[in-house]
């Protein structure tokens, strides 16, 4: 007699080579693939790091410069050579590397160089976003933003898939129900909107949830070094999101 039925989540096989593993495997050799993979990862996950730097009390200008410089150094592969036990996960690697970067004395000597090169990231809107962040400790903020970025990424991929299949309208109608309790989904009304049967609406919502889960795991997979880490990382991020 439960409103929400639960069965343990079955681990799904993962056959993707993760982007992060490509980066790590190539860390000592110059490879265009790994450079491109790292570039993509950094572009996707820069904001959590910016939020962290701001959270540590640095002024917006400083935080922008520091984040910019950090990524410039990272992409120049300096930091990948640093042996860090946290390398298994991109999330923890980035944070630990950033902490080192911030505390390391040498970065002070780099001040004049900062901002001189090409801008890697668009930091213009970052401060607006940061202004709306909840009052969390910098580390918590970082994790929360990280998890939300993954959700964003997952939804964007899902949207893209539907658009590609010519079913954008279906996604627009169904996406809100991803965050709904099962008992509260009005399948009959969805069926009317989509001009389909109630059964088909149920199936559509079910498939959307399933695909959402798959894509979320895939997004996570791209940030860990081996497939066996996906489950732990998933549980960690879900716990992060469930904190009020």
């Amino acid at each position: 007699m439960s409103e929400v039925e639960e069965t343990p989540a079955a681990p799904q096989p993962l056959f993707v080579t993760t982007r992060w593993s490509v980066v790590l495997a190539a860390q000592d050799r110059s490879s265009p693939d790994s450079a491109a993979a790292l570039d993509l990862l950094c572009r996707a996950y820069w904001y959590p790091l910016y939020a962290y730097v701001r959270g540590t009390g640095r002024a917006p200008d400083d935080a922008q410069d520091l984040t910019q410089e950090f990524f410039a150094r990272l992409l120049a592969r300096d930091w990948l050579r640093v042996v860090l036990p946290e390398k298994g996960r991109f999330r923890t690697f980035l944070l630990v590397a950033m902490k080192r970067f911030l505390t390391n004395e040498w970065h002070r000597g780099m001040r004049q160089k900062r901002g001189g090169g090409q801008r890697l990231l668009s930091l213009d809107t970052a401060e607006n976003r940061f202004a709306a962040e909840p009052p969390l400790a910098p580390d918590e903020l970082y994790d929360r933003r990280w998890a939300m970025t993954l959700l964003d990424e997952t939804l964007a991929r899902l949207d893209e898939e539907f658009q590609h299949a010519g079913r954008k309208h279906e996604f627009d109608c169904l996406k809100e129900w991803l965050a709904a309790e099962r008992g509260s989904i009005p399948y009959a009304q969805i069926a009317v909107t989509l001009a389909t049967t109630e059964g088909a609406a149920r199936v559509a919502v079910h498939r959307l949830r399933k695909r959402f889960r798959e894509l979320f795991r895939q997004s996570i997979a791209e940030t860990v070094a081996c497939a066996s880490d996906v489950e732990t990382e998933l549980r960690y991020l879900v716990a992060v999101l469930s904190r009020a």
Binding site: S2, E3, R129, L178, A180, T197, G199, R209, S242
Partner: protein
């Protein structure tokens, strides 16, 4: 920086971040999708089996441009396509991949498809072509741009006039096919299409037979009667080999009954006019189409059509038992028209005053009709309480409307033998169910009565009126502090009407008027308990959000009792009920807080949890003197 307060997630109550992914609450997204696996519920559950993608399909049908996947029916999957040679839209139906290697089936498929392709009638979906490709048998058919009758019935209730307009063309089409020896065998709303011009067309003629029946193999027939339970004629189940055109008339009778009443005919058949206000002459027609013995039904679809048209246009086709084109009928029809003309002349001769009076009366009648239709439409949105499972068959339940308001629906559960079990009166438990707050929770609520309560109690299960999609999405139970704009009344008013209504019929113990609510019912239960006018004395609130900013002054909780139940691993933070406890206690309410394991939902010893909570509330309410602030 002074920022306005952020909107809160309507489900978990936590502030929504400005850049919430696609506007969705991240906590709920995670809780609903990542922590649990979704399982199907309900009879409509269909195994998720993806149809072929458009690109997978394309190589098998070079003559077509496959445009989109339209849906899956019991018979196969349907795609919308463009036939390149003729530049016309077509529907491509793929059938029976499991029969591809069956040569006997191939022969029958070809025979039947040829017969269907010869069936040219404006009210029958035309079959253009058929064959085998890509591991499927396929039919290429006319594409009907519109909806099927099932979709229409789901979106709103039909007026009797609409139902009457739909039936005659269906009869014509059936008559046409029957005269050519083709029986449909699976008439049901899903197979009746309405295009954008309002034309009705029957789809899937003979496909049930093609797939399920096999004249050379009675064994198959006996184990797999073709058709859909609920719409099948009795002989289709018992003697499928003897089915003839009269089975289609029975099925059409079921559809007709459903269009008029919104329900399928029950075993013990009630005339439609008992269920809805319609012309009683329709009773006779519908009941005759639904005769269990084929011999007692209309023998032809044409006969059924004549009878229906007699109700629609009485002047033109009386008497209905005769064929419509005999000279005698014509004469009578002309006589009717003559009489109608005379009546019209009298009308024209009315005084100006009479004319305006008549017009006003008509306008009022129209308004009343519109009102009745709105109510019927809104009622059609409320799901039915469903079948009664055997274990609670002995728990009496009545489906009532409080204050004669169609939207204030509640299910009254308990032994109401006209006299109260104790001299204090009944203890009343008002249940605001969680989830969508609909009637589907009634078996659970009746089990609560059976397993937890005794004859001193009655339960009123309120059914959340959902006015539209937006409300269902955000707010099941609108309250004074958290209104949905389109809501015509608040949950506080709903509860007050129900309590007053029950109070008129039964004596209620004023100390023991409790609410029970969980999940999405919780916020409304807090609000009801803080309504200064409420008669509610205690609230059992489980796994719920607590948002004091949407509630009236918590000081109104003084002297009331709250039993809060929450799981520490619920995606709704346990901080919420903890805050509720602290704030309400500070105002002088008596609060008991309990936890259970397992996260959001009723789990573990559910009835034990309910019993402990309700016992606590009863004891506190009956010995109320223990309350700080209420002691003399």
């Amino acid at each position: 920086m002074n920022t306005p307060p952020l909107p809160a997630c309507p489900r978990c109550g936590v502030a929504l971040p400005i850049d919430a992914p696609r506007g969705l609450c991240p906590r709920c997204l995670a809780a609903m999708n990542l922590a649990t696996e979704t399982a199907f519920t309900g009879a409509n559950a269909v195994p998720a089996q993806p149809p072929l993608s458009l690109t997978e399909l394309a190589p098998h049908f070079p003559q077509l441009e496959i445009l989109e996947y339209l849906g899956r029916g019991g018979m196969g999957v349907v795609y919308k396509a463009r036939q390149r040679s003729l530049d016309r839209l077509v529907a491509l139906k793929l059938l029976a991949p499991e029969r591809v290697l069956d040569t006997k089936f191939a022969a029958r498929f070809a025979n039947e498809a040829q017969a269907l392709a010869r069936l040219n009638h404006p009210n029958i979906v035309t079959v253009y072509d058929f064959g085998q490709a890509g591991g499927f048998y396929y039919l290429l058919m006319e594409f009907v741009d519109g909806v099927n009758l099932r979709q229409l019935l789901r979106s709103r209730k039909l007026t009797p006039e609409e139902a009457l307009a739909i039936v005659p063309p269906l009869c014509e089409a059936l008559q046409f096919a029957h005269e050519r020896g083709i029986i449909h065998r699976d008439i049901k709303p899903e197979n009746l299409l309405l295009d954008k011009e309002g034309r009705t067309k029957i789809a899937d003629f003979g496909i049930a037979k093609m797939l399920g029946a096999d004249a050379s193999n009675v064994g198959v027939l006996e184990t797999q009667p073709a058709g859909t339970p609920g719409y099948m004629a009795p002989e289709q189940k018992s003697e499928p080999e003897k089915v003839d055109s009269r089975a289609d008339i029975y099925s059409l009778g079921v559809v007709f009954y459903e269009m008029l009443t919104g329900e399928l005919p029950a075993d013990k058949l009630q005339p439609p006019s008992r269920r809805v206000r319609i012309d009683v002459r329709l009773d006779e027609i519908v009941l005759r189409a639904l005769e269990k013995t084929p011999e007692l039904r209309f023998q032809t679809a044409a006969e059924l059509r004549t009878q229906v048209e007699a109700v629609v246009h009485p002047a033109m086709s009386l008497p209905a038992s005769n064929p419509p084109h005999t000279p005698q009928t014509r004469n009578r029809a002309w006589a009717w028209i003559g009489m109608s003309a005379a009546v019209l002349a009298v009308l024209v001769g009315w005084s100006v005053l009479g004319f305006y009076r008549a017009r006003r009366a008509m306008a009022e009648a129209q308004k009343a009709r519109a009102q009745a239709q709105r109510v019927a439409e809104e009622r059609a949105l409320l799901p039915d309480a469903g079948e009664t499972p055997a274990d609670i068959a002995d728990v009496p339940m009545r489906d009532l409307r409080a204050g004669d308001d169609e939207m204030k629906r509640f299910l009254l559960i308990g032994l109401l033998d006209g006299q109260s079990a104790s001299k204090e009166g009944y203890r009343l438990l008002i249940v605001l169910p969680g989830g969508a707050g609909d009637a589907n929770f009634s078996p659970f609520v009746r089990r609560i009565y059976k397993n937890v309560l005794d004859q001193n109690w009655i339960i009123a299960q309120l059914v959340a009126p959902q006015w539209n999609l937006a409300q269902a999405r955000y707010l099941v139970w609108p309250t004074a502090g958290d209104r949905y704009p389109a809501a015509r009344f608040t949950t506080e008013q709903f509860v007050a009407t129900v309590v007053a209504e029950i109070g008129k019929q039964h004596s209620i113990d004023p100390r023991c008027v409790f609410t029970l609510s969980w999940s999405s019912g919780g916020p409304a239960a807090y609000a009801v308990s803080l309504d200064p006018a409420t008669r509610v004395t205690g609230s059992f609130i489980a796994m719920s959000v607590f948002r004091p900013e949407n509630l009236p002054d918590l000081a109104a909780g003084k002297g009331r009792f709250y039993y809060l139940l929450h799981s520490p691993t619920d995606f709704i933070s346990i901080k919420m009920p903890e805050t509720a406890r602290d704030l309400l206690q500070a105002e002088g309410a008596r609060v008991e807080f309990q936890t259970y394991e397992g996260g959001h939902g009723w789990r573990g010893d559910v009835y034990g949890q309910l019993r402990r909570g309700l016992e606590w509330l009863t004891k506190e309410a009956e010995t109320g003197g223990a309350l700080p602030g209420t002691a003399p």
